[in-house]
């Protein structure tokens, strides 16, 4: 509803504008460039029509509601979130309020424009991070339009934290936002064994390979990589886990034949086709449809009156031959 109302409002706005320009033309026929005022109006009017058509298109079966159709582009917050994609890749996304950016601009003046936009990625494995005690860090420069980034950490089994910040021309780094801390998983078995449940290395190696379905003698190193190659990942009902359809991208044609046999008799008669009884419609008509293979089909249709005193047989003979 809101959309329709909006369109109506836009139409209202457009129409007076056009009237205005017509009036203007009338009043001032010697207007310097009347074409320009018309050409300004026409596109906006067409645009309105296009929008109108889009939302009243018969194929758009969605009900109209007063909720907006698109998600907000921001949630008016300063926030950076870090997530783990796999053993070495992280994903981060962020949002900055306009007022936060304005405040930075005011504070830094010209420096703001010259500063590099930086994601600083800290290795915070086994520490409580206070901003200064990271094991190590590396920087990624991101472009003005980005609001998310995939980060390759290169090493599995570590903990990470990311600062969104600015690198000033004098080399100083200013943190604007700090993310949550995440930990990536190991890409092989742990080196930690526990005393109570310890197991000899060679037996573990066999159990490890077998767990990945790789048989009894696969080495620990590389077993995970091999497992990845096997596939066997879940896919649900929306796509086939078993085997994808083979599509031959060649020109092609198919031709086939079906046969329709139809007729009518007294509604209370009994009818057989090739000896098998069939059902009549209430008005005594019938229609039968058969796949017709290459063959000669003899199709006796026999009707018997309800009192069984009369009988009619009609026998179409049909031959299909495909060359």
């Amino acid at each position: 509803m809101k959309i329709l109302t909006k369109i109506k409002e836009r139409l209202k706005k457009v129409v007076p504008a056009k009237l205005k320009s017509l009036k203007a033309k009338k009043k001032k026929p010697a207007l310097k460039n009347p074409a320009s005022s018309v050409s300004k109006d026409i596109p906006s009017f067409q645009e309105t029509i296009a929008v109108n058509t889009k939302f009243s298109h018969p194929e758009d079966m969605r009900p109209k509601s007063s909720t907006p159709q698109e998600l907000p582009s921001s949630y008016d917050q300063d926030k950076i979130i870090l997530q783990v994609r796999d053993v070495r890749w992280l994903h981060t996304y962020w949002e900055l309020r306009n007022q936060t950016i304005e405040a930075l601009k005011n504070k830094l003046g010209d420096e703001f424009r010259r500063a590099k936009k930086i994601l600083r990625v800290y290795d915070v494995t086994n520490i409580i991070f206070n901003g200064n005690n990271a094991n190590s860090f590396f920087d990624i420069q991101y472009n003005d339009f980005a609001n998310s980034w995939y980060i390759d950490t290169s090493v599995p089994g570590r903990s990470w934290c990311v600062d969104l910040g600015l690198m000033l021309t004098d080399g100083r780094f200013i943190t604007i936002l700090r993310s949550n801390v995440v930990s990536t998983p190991l890409d092989g078995p742990s080196w930690i064994t526990d005393e109570e449940w310890m197991i000899p290395e060679d037996i573990f190696a066999r159990l490890y390979g077998m767990g990945f379905g790789l048989g009894k003698s696969s080495p620990v190193g590389g077993a995970w990589q091999q497992r990845l190659k096997q596939g066997l990942f879940s896919s649900g009902i929306t796509s086939s886990p078993v085997r994808k359809e083979v599509k031959e991208r060649k020109f092609w044609m198919k031709v086939d034949c079906e046969l329709i046999v139809y007729g009518a008799t007294e509604p209370d008669a009994k009818v057989t086709v090739q000896g098998e009884p069939i059902n009549l419609r209430p008005d005594g008509t019938f229609t039968l449809r058969y796949y017709l293979p290459d063959s000669k089909q003899i199709i006796p249709v026999k009707a018997t009156s309800a009192d069984k005193l009369e009988e009619r047989t009609i026998t179409p003979i049909v031959t299909r031959e495909t060359r």
Partner: protein, 526 residues
């Protein structure tokens, strides 16, 4: 003498798809197809085993969204409409194929199958959940729960309130349906993050499953690999690891059983093959051709030439494959038993819809397997996780690794260029939900209804199915629409509550559309 245990797990899940506002809705067919091709055939297998006195054990997830749809009267009526049309079509097919010797018995097979589906469906009062419950009460089937709407937990780790809501809503829903708390959970997509076991423990859940590397890459090393469960450090919740050797035999696109040339070809359906006017009443009302479920060909080979399906040959292959599977488990159990010095548990989880829907002969294969394991040998014993833990209470304590059973084993399927845009919105909504819970404790009346609906909309937006479809990159418009619709509805409720202007009429409309979890309590989101 039992050398090892076999724990078969079928993960039954469909996203919540229910559109009362449309007379026909294409994606609702996922449910109808799964009922006809998977759920009813499985129930028939279980019924046959019980009536023949064959002891068996199987574990199944029934996801809360699947239970909600199976129990919904509108969808039940629509399923009857759907199956009646299929029965009608199969009757026409019996007539049409009269002069095709190799097709006519197949048309009859489908007529019988569809008629049986309708009979079974009606026998359980149109609600198949009762059927599954019956086998659980008989001790043959252990039903486990899942995330309320199958949200992928690792990508909710920054808002654990939402993980908690997914788990608590699911466990409470399970209890209202089955009359007891769930002992186990299938973490959606097998997605586990260390720490989420604490949330499971709070909900009284005793075990879950991980993919192989969840256990194998845990810390410290799991002594028995994936062939014994472990307890999570600090919480004692048990984790069972997936065995990939048995998975591979059933699942692999190259060497798996379902690719056998005698099995039914999925991609040749009369919905696409037959003349338009004839098939029109049975496809989408707009004339878009769809699968009807009637398929006459066998896989035949790797090319596009297909030969007619021969039911008897397929049946023989299913029996052989069941025998082969059992033989391999016996060998595997024997070998592992020597290595471990105790009976291993081999955990074989599959998507339930693989059986029957994708792999037509799957339920038959299961039937043969159950019968052979019960009658032909003593080396392997079928077991449920609860039984195993009761008999084997002493297990190693480790912290399993972050893992999933999705593409490449972690989060990538649900976090890539095509779907990563959803998380800023989902996380913002989670944050807002937590804010609402703190601002309005113990709400009543209209406000309570709005808060409860807000949680329903948030949960629906979180379904991993939408991100998955976006990740596959094909037919994505419905998944985009669903993600946005639920988030937009959530955002509107949030704004309306904050501005004290809840529109009762609008709220009632979305309560009617997104009607799952009638007893939901918004306060679980904290």
């Amino acid at each position: 003498m039992t050398k090892g245990y076999l724990c078969l797990v079928l993960h039954g899940h469909l996203p919540f798809v229910r559109h009362p506002e449309h007379e026909n809705f294409l994606e609702e067919d996922w449910l109808y197809e799964a009922i006809t091709e998977t759920y009813v055939p499985l129930i028939s297998v279980f019924e046959g085993l019980v009536s023949d006195g064959i002891d068996f054990r199987i574990t199944m997830t029934l996801s809360p969204t699947l239970i909600s749809m199976l129990s919904d009267s509108l969808l039940q009526e629509r399923y009857l409409r759907h199956i009646n049309k299929l029965i009608e079509l199969s009757q026409k097919e019996i007539e049409r194929t009269k002069w095709q010797e190799s097709f006519r018995p197949l048309a009859e097979m489908y007529f019988n199958k569809f008629s049986q589906a309708r009979n079974t469906f009606q026998k359980y009062n149109n609600n198949l959940v009762y059927a599954f419950k019956k086998f659980q009460d008989l001790g043959k089937l252990e039903i486990i729960t899942c995330g309320a709407t199958h949200g992928f937990f690792p990508l909710m780790d920054v808002c654990r309130e939402s993980v908690r809501a997914q788990v608590k809503v699911a466990a409470d829903h399970y209890e209202s349906v089955f009359g007891r708390r769930p002992a186990g959970i299938w973490l959606p997509e097998c997605g586990f993050c260390p720490g989420h076991d604490e949330i499971l423990r709070e909900a009284g859940i005793r075990f879950f499953f991980t993919d192989s590397h969840g256990l194998l890459h845990g810390t410290p090393r799991p002594k028995y690999g994936v062939f014994a469960p472990v307890y999570c450090k600090g919480t004692g919740v048990a984790a069972f690891g997936r065995d990939l050797e048995s998975s591979k035999q059933v699942w692999s696109s190259i060497e798996g059983y379902p690719g056998d040339y005698n099995y039914r070809e999925f991609y040749r359906d009369i919905g696409f093959d037959l003349e338009f006017d004839y098939i029109k009443p049975y496809i989408h009302p707009d004339g878009v051709r769809i699968n009807t479920g009637i398929k006459y060909y066998r896989i035949t080979g790797t090319g596009n030439h297909k030969e007619p399906y021969v039911a008897e040959w397929a049946r023989e292959r299913a029996a052989e494959h069941a025998g082969n599977f059992m033989f391999n488990r016996q060998k595997q159990a024997g070998y592992l038993n020597d290595l471990m010095g105790k009976p291993p548990i081999i955990v074989s989880p599959y998507d339930a819809e693989l059986f029957g829907h994708w792999w037509y002969e799957g339920p038959m294969w299961l039937d043969f397997l159950f019968r052979k394991v019960a009658c032909d040998q003593k080396e392997i014993r079928m077991i449920t996780p609860s039984e195993y833990l009761a008999e084997n209470p002493r297990n190693q304590v480790i912290t399993p690794s972050f893992s999933s059973w999705g593409y490449k084993g972690y989060s990538e399927m649900w976090l890539q260029g095509t779907n990563d845009w959803i998380y800023r919105h989902l996380h913002a909504a989670s944050g807002r939900m937590t804010e609402l819970v703190h601002s309005y404790p113990g709400a009543q009346g209209l406000l309570r209804r709005a808060l409860n609906q807000a949680l329903r909309e948030l949960l629906l937006a979180q379904s991993s199915d939408w991100a998955f479809i976006l990740g596959t990159g094909t037919h994505t418009s419905y998944a985009v629409r669903r993600t946005k619709d639920h988030l937009l509805r959530f955002n509107r409720i949030y704004e309306d509550i904050k501005s004290n202007s809840i529109n009762e009429k609008w709220l009632a409309d979305i309560e009617y559309k997104d009607n799952l979890f009638p007893n939901i309590d918004y306060q679980v989101h904290q």
